[in-house]
């Protein structure tokens, strides 16, 4: 590839124009003639048999059109995800507060509220369980049909006993992290429209239209060619719209199928927080062994994630959690066991980082304690053990390329003036004390060995006779900016045409083939490669057209800067539009589909060894925090976030991902807290008391970008949407521990918890 014209430039994203004008229509902004509304009636208990479900009174409420239950499902009451345990409606018993029991369908939202009050359920309560460790003990109540152990993953390498024997220092710790609610500003929603051909179309806010397709087919018992899923502009997702939209789209489709009219199902904030997945709470037990000089020798970890009642995405989350549990370090002797024990709480799912922030927090706290024990600078300790090109990960994967960790270390340390602050702060006293802390992280890009079957992508590109281009992909933009980034890749793939000539179509399962989910920071990498495949096929055709105009052989034609020319005489050229017109006149096909399948990975679940992911993104984050010693309130003042993400397609948007991810991480570290009552019911389902960062809470975010290119990504792209959040809790906890001179091993670091710490 010669010089890049569009990739690498900070041009505004195409969807921003409508957004800044207030013209973007999210699903709740769409109203169709004859449209009815639906809402989910859900359980109020954590574990109970449903003895009676009385809907007769509710059905008599004026405006109520139907109240649907499991018995009304024409297909199967089963949501396809990883395991076969998750259902649209509770079956004979409910297993968490918030589990759907019935669906109210009515002419208006007012009628729905009236009907809700008139539904009654007679329950027989069963013993419930709320702790994932307790869940796995003998005699614990069994709550899930597949058993309480929803998933188990491990890593084994070297000889753990030997590793600890050869260690001079052993650090032990127990770490706890809490829920995190996605708090996307647009709540979940779907609009189902029964089709004239006897099928169903569902529009909705989602990350994974092909999951939704399978869900809607399942509940209606329809084949895939009768069901069409179209993603509407999506107001944030962060993982929260990976699994859940299958439920909401499925139920909207059931309602539309039943009353033969369009039905919209959107959640209000309260229902959204109560019913939807969150980041898994965790408890981790770590032992870390090292030589006196800081060389890591052994790591043993036992990690429990709290998955809630159903497996949904937990097996994948736990796998990623397990693989990232020892950080981006060389450690010869490792034993990790990661468990997910079912609890009677709302199922947890995907959230930016996908099981890794929990263990990064634990491991990076361990590293700080080790540094203190051997009186070594914590950044230097990490740096001396950090993965470099050619090293092997703890799963035995050799890293042949694209390891930009060292450069991240340098950039973050310099920008933050680490050494100076680290030596100055311990001497501070007074009511407000500052501290500084760091964290290192790596992140396997794409689905890896656990999802290699679905780590594929398709792209459709069509050139218009006037030189415009239209493209479609199967991955989604949920706000992160994929549309802009892929538009730039199309522009580059077509020889540097202007991005203004390009239009992305809404994601539609009837337009492109299954491209897997939009998760795991994989959209740019996989769809980008599929786009380049399609563009290459188009450019082959266009070069034939250009050759006719230039009166040369197609092999002599070069493309660049939106023009076609011969290398020997670049001053004689035809524009992209001229060549498109020529090709059109001669009936050269300029519509092509591109494909991409991720390179092979491997995994042995018994030994926990293998080439887990195709590539890794890396990061170093440094936080400066200030703690009010009287109130216990911690503030993050600055975060320096250095990230290796491979080739950057749009630097300003990459920076936006870093800034947004970091601030979400600050919320996770300091303030975001789900309060449960004794029955596992969420007590704060609103933004009045589930507190996320505002403009006044956001620290200064200093982003540093490292481009250690990945040769198999489009133009060297790796992907990194999740990494900016992942290390924040760890570096903030290290900074706060540094400030107060006590070990903080639990997040969120609420003021009352820190006060308690400081007393002790």
């Amino acid at each position: 590839m010669d010089e890049l014209c569009v990739v690498g430039k900070s041009i505004p994203r195409p969807d921003a124009w409508d957004k800044v004008m207030g013209k973007t229509r999210y699903v709740d902004d769409i109203t169709l003639p004859g449209m009815a509304y639906a809402a989910i009636y859900y359980s109020s208990l954590p574990h109970a048999e449903i003895k009676e479900l009385n809907i007769a009174k509710a059905l008599r409420v004026p405006g109520v059109l139907a109240i649907l239950r499991a018995s009304d499902i024409p297909g199967k009451n089963f949501i396809p995800m990883i395991k076969e345990d998750w259902t649209f409606f509770a079956k004979e018993k409910v297993v968490y507060p918030g589990e759907p029991i019935a669906l109210i369908v009515a002419e208006s939202k007012d009628a729905i509220m009236d009907a809700w009050e008139k539904i009654s359920v007679v329950y027989e309560e069963l013993p419930a369980i709320f702790d994932p460790e307790e869940s796995l003990k003998p005699g614990a109540p069994q709550i899930n049909p597949i058993g309480n152990l929803l998933s188990l993953h491990k890593i084994r390498t070297g000889d753990l006993e030997l590793g600890f024997m050869e260690s001079d220092v052993i650090i032990e710790g127990v770490y706890e992290t809490d829920y995190q609610e996605h708090a996307y500003l647009e709540t979940q929603g779907a609009l189902a429209v029964p089709g004239a051909e006897g099928g169903m179309t569902v529009y909705g806010s989602m990350q994974c239209p092909f999951y939704v397709l399978k869900g809607v087919c399942m509940i209606l018992g329809l084949p895939q060619h009768k069901v069409r899923i179209v993603q509407t502009p999506t107001g944030g997702a962060f993982g929260g719209k990976e699994d859940m939209p299958s439920l909401f789209a499925g139920l909207a489709a059931l309602a539309a199928w039943s009353i033969k009219r369009p039905v919209k199902l959107t959640l209000d904030r309260r229902a959204d927080i109560i019913m939807t997945s969150k980041r898994h709470p965790s408890r981790s037990y770590y032992r870390l062994g090292a030589k006196k000089d800081g060389t890591l020798m052994a790591c043993e970890a036992r990690v429990y994630l709290d998955p809630g009642a159903y497996a949904t995405l937990t097996p994948s989350v736990l796998w990623r959690c397990c693989i990232h549990s020892c950080g981006p370090y060389r450690i010869p002797h490792v034993k990790v066991d990661a468990y997910a024990g079912a609890t009677n709480k709302v199922p947890c799912g995907a959230y930016r980082g996908f099981g890794s922030p929990q263990v990064i927090f634990a491991m990076e706290r361990q590293m700080d304690k080790l540094a203190r024990e051997i009186a070594m600078d914590p950044l230097k300790l990490r740096a001396m053990n950090a993965l470099r090109q050619g090293d092997s990960t703890v799963t035995g994967q050799t890293l042949p390329w694209s390891v930009g960790l060292e450069e991240c270390i340098q950039k973050a340390a310099e920008a933050s003036r680490w050494e100076e602050k680290r030596s100055r702060y311990p001497a501070e006293d007074g009511y407000k004390r500052r501290g500084i802390g760091c964290s290192f992280l790596h992140y396997g890009v794409g689905l890896g060995a656990a999802g290699s079957r679905i780590d594929v992508a398709e792209a459709y590109v069509q050139i218009k006779p006037d030189g415009g281009a239209v493209f479609a992909v199967g991955t989604t933009d949920m706000g992160q900016g994929m549309q802009g980034v892929l538009t730039q890749i199309v522009a580059e793939g077509l020889g540097g045409i202007a991005p203004q000539q390009i239009q992305m179509l809404p994601v539609d399962t009837m337009q492109v083939g299954d491209s897997g989910p939009t998760v795991a920071s994989r959209a740019t990498y996989t769809s980008g490669n599929a786009i380049l495949d399609a563009c290459e096929k188009i450019m082959d055709e266009m070069k034939k057209g250009a050759a006719l105009l230039l009166k040369c052989e197609p092999s002599q034609v070069r493309a660049g800067g939106g023009k076609f020319f011969q290398e020997s005489a670049p001053e004689i050229f035809y524009t992209f539009a001229q060549v498109a017109a020529e090709c059109s006149a001669r009936h050269f096909g300029l519509t092509h589909t591109g494909y991409f399948k991720s390179p092979d990975t491997s995994w042995d679940s018994e030994t926990g060894q293998g080439k887990a992911y195709v590539a890794y993104s890396f990061g170093v984050q440094i936080a400066e925090a200030e703690v009010d010693m009287q109130t216990g309130e911690a503030r993050v003042l600055d975060i320096w976030a250095a990230h290796d993400l491979g080739k950057v397609v749009n630097p300003k948007m990459a920076q936006g991902q870093i800034e947004g991810g970091v601030v979400q991480g600050v919320g996770y570290s300091l303030m975001e807290f789900i309060a449960l009552d004794g029955k596992g019911r969420i007590q704060n389902p609103s933004f009045s008391n589930y507190i996320i960062p505002t403009s006044l809470d956001a620290p200064l975010v200093h982003s540093e970008i490292v481009e250690s290119v990945y040769p198999e990504g489009p133009f060297g792209v790796k992907g990194f949407g999740e990494t900016p959040l992942m290390g924040v809790a760890a570096c903030v906890a290290n900074a706060v521990s540094d400030a107060i001179g006590r070990d903080v091993d639990k997040i969120p670091m609420l003021p009352e918890r820190l006060l308690e710490k400081m007393k002790g």
């Binding site: 409508d18 957004k19 800044v20 500003l185 904030r269 706000g479 936006g656 403009s695």
Partner: protein, 155 residues
């Protein structure tokens, strides 16, 4: 009941129910830039300007707006003639999912109406009631600064 509203410089007579919230009336009238994020006045997605000052339209009865001037994001500018705030949001990359954007723009406009030369802290305070989960606020704050400068230059 009938209420007279001046929406985006246009007088309208609107039929409403007595206890209807302003957000519901505006959306029914087709102003879909007014977003519902929380129903409780916590998130700011439904912010509109009422006589030039930002309010959460989910917390106000439409009946209380008789004769008052309401501005929604639809009134800010057009593709050919963007408001300086819109241009700055575009240029600075202050937009991700876009759900908070209309409310954010109007809170910022309300601030600039009151204080044409806000310091960074003034901007942070003015936007404290508008939640954004995507951007971390960094580029939004920068965009408001840029817009204030741009407006200052044209005066």
């Amino acid at each position: 009941m009938i209420v007279n509203l001046n929406i985006n410089n246009q007088e309208r007579q609107v039929e409403i129910k007595p206890a209807e919230r302003l957000i519901d009336v505006l959306r029914r009238e087709g102003f879909f830039s007014v977003k519902e994020g929380c129903r409780k006045g916590n998130c700011g997605a439904c912010v509109v300007l009422l006589d030039g000052s930002p309010v959460n339209s989910c917390l106000i009865f439409a009946a209380r707006c008789e004769g008052r001037r309401i501005e929604t994001a639809e009134s800010l500018g057009s593709t050919e003639n963007l408001h300086p705030l819109q241009k700055a949001f575009l240029d600075e990359g202050a937009i991700q999912c876009g759900y908070c954007t209309p409310g954010m723009l109007l809170s910022a406009k309300g601030l600039l109406n009151e204080n044409p030369h806000p310091a960074e802290d003034d901007i942070k305070k003015a936007l404290d009631g508008n939640l954004c989960r995507c951007t971390g606020y960094v580029k939004i704050i920068k965009a408001v600064q840029k817009a204030a400068e741009a407006i200052g230059k044209t005066r």
